[in-house]
């Protein structure tokens, strides 16, 4: 297979994530779109790890997995806070810091 194939898959997944972040109102769905973009980056790293025969890409992906787990935990906690205080999960109802 050409190198471009997994890279194009990654680009498609990243574009889907961008679309989701711009369109979604539901806080949890917004976080899912961010996950898609992170996963696109992981596919790129693994592909180049194989292409360059260098294990550093694998190690960086392991770190990204750990940081993503932390990010999702905090994100879900924030969405639950929002739901408890405002009874909504729509992120565009959050205008508290808008002048």
């Amino acid at each position: 297979m050409p190198v471009a194939a997994p890279l194009l898959l990654s680009a498609l997944m990243f574009a889907a994530g961008v679309y989701g972040v711009l369109v979604r109102r539901h806080g949890v769905m917004l976080l899912m779109s961010v996950e898609l973009m992170i996963n696109a980056a992981n596919i790129n790293l693994i592909t180049f790890s194989q292409l360059l025969r260098d294990p550093v890409g694998n190690i960086v992906v392991l770190f990204i997995l750990a940081v993503t787990a932390a990010e999702v935990g905090i994100g879900i906690a924030i969405v639950m806070m929002l739901y408890r205080q405002r009874s909504t999960v729509a992120v565009d109802d959050l205008q508290l810091m808008k002048w």
């Binding site: 890279l7 979604r24 693994i46 997995l65 750990a66 906690a77």
Partner: protein, 162 residues
């Protein structure tokens, strides 16, 4: 070799379709399950590309922990009856931006790599990754463990009732 080619195209197609499904469906639970499918297919790709440990870690962490966390988040914040919150009104513009991002990335990728083949020859042994993690990468490794602890404490502080 032909088996690997077929496996690659099947996994890549599954991953792409699931990723598009995640951002196009109007049902929150379906989106979470689509995300699980996309991540499992990506883990299969990782294993195919010789990153066996990373692929299995992806299944454990993403599908085992992150997607379950999403499902819990959806269940605990079920919205009241009324209009469902899914998308906002900027669909057209967002579609243009997303297509623009994809086209720019695709032009760059094709210009840089064209038809250069990717040979699947190297399998990265888990022992080698472990050695690297605990020697050269020990400082980032410890930093990540502190980050996870901070995230744990932060999530508890945010989510507790007081």
């Amino acid at each position: 070799m032909i088996v690997r080619q077929i496996a690659f195209w099947v996994l890549a197609g599954l991953s792409a379709i699931s990723a598009l499904f995640v951002v196009l469906t109007r049902n929150v639970v379906h989106a979470a399950l689509g995300l699980a499918a996309a991540l499992v297919a990506a883990a299969g790709l990782f294993i195919l590309f010789g990153a066996e440990f990373v692929g299995l870690a992806q299944i454990l962490i993403y599908v085992g922990a992150v997607v379950i966390l999403f499902l819990f988040g959806i269940m605990l914040t079920s919205t009241a009856p009324g209009r469902p919150v899914v998308d906002n009104q900027q669909k057209g513009m967002a579609f243009l931006v997303a297509v623009g991002v994809f086209v720019v990335l695709a032009i760059g990728i094709v210009a840089a790599y064209g038809r250069r083949p990717l040979r699947l020859e190297v399998a990265f042994a888990t022992s080698g990754l472990g050695n690297a993690l605990f020697t050269r990468w020990i400082l980032p490794f410890e930093a990540v463990s502190v980050l996870l602890l901070a995230a744990l404490v932060g999530a508890i502080v945010l989510a507790r009732k007081d």
